[in-house]
Symmetry: C2
Subunit: 335 residues, 2 copies
């Protein structure tokens, strides 16, 4: 293993000079720099991460806590993770992957050991049990998601409440008066997962304002579960002409079933989805949808974290405005 001292000797300079060439923390003459860089290349030197972390008390690692659950839509989680990791490398950080299984203990462990300089948390619940810890730790953190009380925390999230409202706006604007919401699995609401609850709240409030009826039904993954849910909906509200779907695994089954039942989309029934664009555009009917900007969320979370790590930036909530793209699944309701 090549050490900094060996590089220094090879280049005929002192250890600190090599260190400063690497960090750029003080000016170095062009010739010295070149000599050092040459030696580094020739010897194949790589700075030792542990020694660096010990001496500088910075690991250049950021922890990312992902959910362990299987009722969340994995591609979105994955896209966020990849965006975080990619952005992190751009700032010189690596990502430590933590699953939610350790819960708050993981925060303590990572934070206490100096393993990571900061952390990003996904799958935030309204009353998340990790929050008290985050507020007291000196290590910076960023949430992807918005808890009930974000005070003292930095959060990045889609504005889910506005997303719900936007869906109603669109359908109501087209003349739909009876809307059904096909939601995430029941467990998601039972855990008080922020995005699902807020979407519903925003949607219901706007519906009330506009005098539209909104019926919400959670739905497990799979064709059969959706079939049952759909049957119940038409049973309770036969006049339903508009659907809002916030459940990726329900999208295809829904379209398929409506078709089988002879309900044409968008002539008889309109569907708005809250899902990644990829899902919306790959469905049998191109779906009018509010996109989930997974990559942007990941990227912005990392940006915020770096700002905090560098002493800039502070506790704040950054909500991304939802955008609804009209495609082929929505049309006029009753005239």
């Amino acid at each position: 293993m090549v050490t900094l001292a060996e590089v220094a000797q090879h280049a005929g300079v002192s250890a600190s000079t090599v260190s400063y060439v690497l960090s750029g923390k003080r000016s170095i003459s062009a010739t010295t720099r070149q000599r050092v860089e040459q030696s580094i290349r020739e010897l194949g030197y790589h700075p030792n991460a542990g020694a660096r972390a010990l001496a500088s008390s910075r690991s250049n690692i950021v922890a990312l806590m992902i959910p362990l659950r299987t009722d969340m839509y994995m591609p979105v989680m994955m896209e966020i993770s990849i965006a975080v990791a990619t952005a992190a490398r751009g700032y010189g950080y690596d990502i430590l992957l933590l699953t939610g299984q350790e819960g708050p203990d993981a925060v303590r462990r990572v934070t206490g050991s100096g393993l990571a300089d900061g952390m990003i948390l996904m799958d935030v619940q309204l009353d998340d049990e990790r929050l008290p810890l985050l507020r007291t730790t000196k290590r910076p953190s960023v949430l992807i998601g918005l808890p009930a009380d974000p005070s003292g925390l930095t959060c990045v999230d889609l504005d889910w409440s506005a997303t719900g409202a936007l869906c109603v706006d669109h359908l109501a604007g087209l003349g739909h008066r009876d809307i059904a919401v096909i939601g995430e699995a029941p467990g998601v609401y039972e855990r008080h997962t922020g995005f699902a609850v807020r979407t519903l709240d925003g949607l219901r409030e706007r519906a009330r304002e506009l005098g539209v009826r909104a019926l919400h039904r959670p739905c497990e993954a799979g064709y059969d579960a959706l079939a049952a849910t759909l049957a119940r909906i038409f049973d309770e509200r036969p006049a339903t002409t508009g659907f809002v779907v916030q459940n990726e695994s329900a999208v295809e089954p829904l379209l398929s079933l409506l078709r089988q039942q002879g309900r044409a989309v968008p002539e008889d029934v309109s569907v708005v989805a809250i899902c990644p664009d990829q899902v919306a555009t790959q469905a049998p009917v191109r779906l009018t949808s509010v996109a989930i900007p997974a990559a942007e969320m990941g990227r912005r979370a990392m940006e915020q974290l770096v700002a905090k790590l560098e002493g800039r930036g502070s506790a704040e909530v950054a909500l991304i405005a939802p955008e609804l793209t009209v495609r082929a699944s929505t049309g006029p309701g009753q005239v």
Copy 2:
């Protein structure tokens, strides 16, 4: 920040004693151990990761390289990652998440800096450019996937070749003579991704042995792409009665289209899928399928890696035998 020295002082013992209590590498009297553990708890001590890594030259971190691409089925990647991370914690390791974007350089960086003690690589191509490096590095690694030449490497994978053969066996056994294979996106084959190529090879060979005709068509994600692919297949081989699908995003569209065309599954046409059980059981027709044992692959990869890290275990290929579960999507072919 609490240090080991402070704990030692508080407990009235030497630093080395505290260290040995923590590592268990030498016997400690019960009373001493209790005193030390008490102090650790009272002071809220967490060993510093950097110092540990520096002194022991082991970071207790394992790198996991995941693909950056979006044409792989994310839920499987995610499930593998979670299984790896979960297993890792059980062995006292944390996971460093690397995306494929840095390519071989990531291997060099992580390996050279001592950031990770070993690594696990996903999305392995037959002629993967990272392999030469892995063979020469002293740091242990495990591939999830099987390259063309696995010599000197440790690999864990589903036996994809046997998987392909198994699908043909099943369909041929039911009397189908004309089989169509709906595969992954073209790019997956163009990159020579191991699992896709091997599945196809195994399938074709068995088809030849059994005198069955097999037509392979790659397929991009999405409803429209599948519709085009399906049309071509029936155009070229109108007598096709059996399908093998190795493309999760094609499953629902396929069933939906067959239904629309009046081809009943399994009465007119049989479908075997190669996909996670979750996909197979949630489809509108419960699919006969060969499961992708994502969690098992992740767990076993981590097991192998730990074995190598501890000096046990060595280069070897561990193939998981495929299992075909008969469900409702396959039935007798022409009589």
